[in-house]
């Protein structure tokens, strides 16, 4: 079996599972921090109940994020050792800074948030929630910087096939990083917003925890009505940045074969890589030109601009991009409609809207994965754009070893993350009244209401 393909499959599998949890915990930690601060400033007990409820779910998700993340940090060596030798002078320190600035911060203050109870003063709870939220965002900052460098390497020189950093500022803030960071962070907040919205809608439909559910829905709609349209803007800017630095990726996203001329936007098409054309295309004439050049007749790069060996897998990139776009537009519609219902005072009574939203907890996760498939498959055949091909980055490990461990990862992740989904669902079913923890003396725990009032 082809070790390159197997190593890629293994990385794609493990990172796709992993990204689910950061997408959720980055947003959720910020939400919990907001609630903790609201509770400590207003003293309204409802905020504390909601915070406590989501903190419990956060703990389960965070644990899954940690254990699936450690796997990735070691895969650099186990599966991609040649890539590591070539690039770790540059991206190694970025990952080092992620560990030093983010991981310990998160681990420490999450423990305080979850377990400290009456061992710490009340302000330290709010502070810990903020520290955890900051830790998740810092973690995203560094790892996305390292990832972006693989797309748009900068600030380095190559000597004998090994990258050496010459300008750290240029390495960290490489051309695609600010766009990718903003787009991903916003995606994480949106994903969480739709999860909170779904849980609020689920409770309202069931007539349970109505007070908490209304607060969750108001907060979630208020958030997504700003962030969903903002994401369109951020995505557009990110796309223009990609057009500048990775034009072939954009050509694959649009399945545009002949460069240098205006491009249609294909709502649907079946890209045929051998015939170098599309079948069954349903297109908006010159739509892609309008999106990418903001002109009707703007030329768009084409796949045929480069030899076939330098092209990404077109169908994968093309369809993944469309899935992300479709969900993005659905999010905007759902957010605007929800805001309109709220404004006209019918948000909690429009049952069909609640029913739809209660089913929509997963859309953000799918959009995030589709977005990552678009950008990472679109980077192929390069592991570091223009510097190193993916096939040259793997470890000297036989295909059988990779295949065996890939099978094990699939089985283990199936069990563990199936369990995680089941238990999170159970926590949601139990609802915000379930007790989080009790201190030595239940009645006096600061998480109990007596202390709070």
């Amino acid at each position: 079996m082809d070790p390159v393909l197997l190593a890629r499959l293994q990385f794609a599998f493990t990172i796709s599972f992993h990204i689910i949890f950061p997408s959720f915990t980055i947003g959720l930690s910020a939400y919990i921090a907001t609630l903790e601060v609201l509770w400590s400033t207003t003293g309204i007990d409802r905020y504390k109940r909601i915070a406590r409820f989501w903190t419990r779910i956060f703990a389960v998700s965070f644990a899954m994020g940690v254990v699936s993340g450690i796997v990735l940090s070691y895969q650099f060596g186990t599966n991609w050792s040649r890539f590591t030798v070539a690039t770790s002078n540059v991206i190694g320190p970025l990952i080092g800074y992620e560990v030093l600035t983010a991981f310990f911060l998160e681990a420490t203050f999450l423990s305080i948030l979850l377990f400290a109870g009456d061992r710490v003063p009340r302000w330290l709870h709010a502070f810990s929630a903020i520290a955890v939220a900051a830790g998740t965002a810092l973690s995203a900052f560094w790892i996305l910087s390292a990832n972006s460098w693989m797309h748009t390497p900068a600030g380095h020189v190559m000597r004998d096939g090994i990258a050496y950093a010459v300008d750290w500022w240029a390495v960290i803030f490489n051309p695609s990083f600010p766009y990718r960071f903003a787009h991903m962070l916003n995606a994480a907040y949106l994903t969480t917003g739709f999860c909170v919205l779904a849980v609020g809608a689920r409770y309202l439909l069931a007539g349970r925890f109505t007070e908490e559910a209304r607060t969750m829905m108001r907060m979630a709609v208020g958030l997504v009505v700003v962030l969903a349209p903002l994401q369109l803007l951020l995505g557009d800017q990110h796309g223009l940045n990609t057009l500048e630095h990775q034009p072939v990726k954009v050509a694959a996203m649009e399945a545009h074969w002949d460069g240098g001329q205006p491009a249609d936007f294909h709502i649907f098409a079946w890209p045929d890589e051998t015939a170098e054309k599309n079948h069954y295309a349903l297109s908006i004439p010159r739509g892609a030109s309008l999106i990418l050049t903001h002109r009707m007749d703007g030329p768009v790069p084409g796949l045929k601009d480069v030899p076939p060996t330098d092209r990404p897998p077109v169908a994968t990139v093309f369809f993944a991009f469309r899935i992300m776009l479709a969900i993005g537009f659905f999010m905007i519609a759902a957010a605007l409609f929800g805001a309109w219902l709220w404004w006209s005072g019918r948000l909690f009574e429009t049952r069909w809207y609640l029913r739809v939203m209660a089913q929509c907890w997963w859309i953000g996760f799918v959009a995030v994965i589709a977005g990552w498939v678009t950008t990472e498959s679109g980077r192929q055949p390069w592991i570091v754009h223009g510097i190193m091909r993916t096939a040259d980055g793997i470890s000297p490990v036989p295909g059988a070893s990779i295949a065996t461990t890939l099978a094990l990862f699939i089985v283990v992740y199936g069990i563990v993350f199936g369990g995680g989904a089941y238990y999170i669902n159970r926590l949601i079913h139990r609802g915000p009244e379930g007790e989080l923890i009790s201190g030595g003396d239940k009645a006096k725990g600061p998480l109990g209401t007596e202390h709070a009032l």
Partner: protein, 337 residues
């Protein structure tokens, strides 16, 4: 080769990674040891108590593993790129086992039927410990390298010596876990842990003796390091001190002391670790790659060192804060519902 700076970057980074590894081994060691002792608990309430004693710490403890692995990648990429493919299967086994161990903390608390996650926690901990010992043994015995890359076969690491190291680490972590329970819990659980600790102490000494005898016999480079003069004059206190501390640990366990056995167990680990460093330094991939050959570009080492100098004390501060906040015996019912 040594750089022309007034300080030796490679030695500094080797020391930082050494600290991260030793922090990991001691702190996750007691968590993993508790996992190994988990099946020996009599009741679910005892298991709740065992888990509660490490729950605030495990995530931070495990982070030192990421710092150790990440630090190796940053500072010594050539060593990292040889060690990981060479020890591919035990490393992945460790990662998979760590998944079960880590999620068991959260899932067990929610699950109605806890047996499955009890098993995941125990098996995950034992396999992690064993795999780490195998990795250690695989490193000490040496790795086949050609052209700066691993050039052996997938099961090179599997030798009687690496299995011996694997069992030794399981016993060692078990000793840390048992003495931690002596310190942090009360009642029958603590009494049983005290008896278990005494047995595990004996086992650890047997494994330490076996490794100490086998390595100089099997690897001339290690024999030369220890038994050539004048090295021997400086090095003989290491085994002697190990014996004295083991005796003290046993004495404290027998005489009802709560905290000292745990710290004695830590001291045993530090001495064992020191012994390994003496045997192997300055090699990262014995017998071919030393810390200077494996080093990253000096600019990269300096760039991360600048942050590490500031951040490592802060991290040690957080760590101290958590251990201080959750000091003392585990309180009844101080766990999730």
């Amino acid at each position: 080769m040594p750089s022309d700076l007034w300080f030796d970057l490679a030695v500094i980074w080797a020391a930082i990674i050494g600290v991260a590894v030793v922090m990991y081994v001691i702190m996750d060691g007691f968590d993993l040891g508790i996992g190994a002792l988990f099946p020996l608990a009599r009741t679910e309430a005892e298991r709740d108590q065992m888990m509660a004693s490490v729950k605030p710490f495990w995530d931070g403890n495990e982070t030192w593993l990421v710092l150790g692995g990440g630090g190796l990648m940053v500072a010594f990429p050539r060593a990292y790129a040889i060690i990981m493919p060479a020890l591919y299967l035990p490393v992945i086994a460790m990662l998979l086992a760590l998944i079960f161990r880590g999620v068991a903390f959260e899932f067990r608390a929610i699950a109605r039927r806890k047996q499955g996650w009890n098993l995941a926690f125990a098996a995950g901990s034992v396999v992690t410990s064993f795999a780490q010992g195998v990795i250690l043994g695989g490193l000490i015995q040496g790795i086949t390298v050609a052209d700066g890359a691993f050039a052996g076969s997938p099961f090179d690491w599997l030798t009687p010596f690496s299995v011996l190291c694997g069992l030794g680490v399981v016993a060692g972590y078990g000793l840390l876990g048992a003495t931690w329970l002596v310190m942090k819990t009360e009642g029958e659980l603590a009494q049983r842990a005290r008896r278990q600790a005494a047995w595990l102490l004996g086992a650890v000494l047997v494994f330490m003796a076996a490794v100490s005898l086998y390595t100089p016999l099997a690897f001339p480079r290690i024999a030369e390091r220890w038994f050539s003069l004048p090295n021997f004059y400086f090095l003989w206190p290491v085994p002697t001190l190990t014996g004295v501390i083991a005796l003290a640990c046993w004495w404290w366990l027998r005489h009802g002391r709560d905290a000292p056995p745990f710290f004695a167990a830590i001291a045993l680990f530090l001495l064992g670790y020191l012994g390994l460093v003496i045997s192997v330094f300055p090699y990262l991939v014995p017998p071919s790659l030393d810390i200077w050959q494996a080093a990253a570009a000096p600019d990269s080492q300096i760039f991360l060192l600048a942050g590490t100098v500031v951040l490592l004390p802060v991290i040690l501060g957080y760590t101290a804060l958590v251990y201080w906040l959750f000091r003392g015996k585990v309180r009844e019912g101080e766990t999730y519902h």
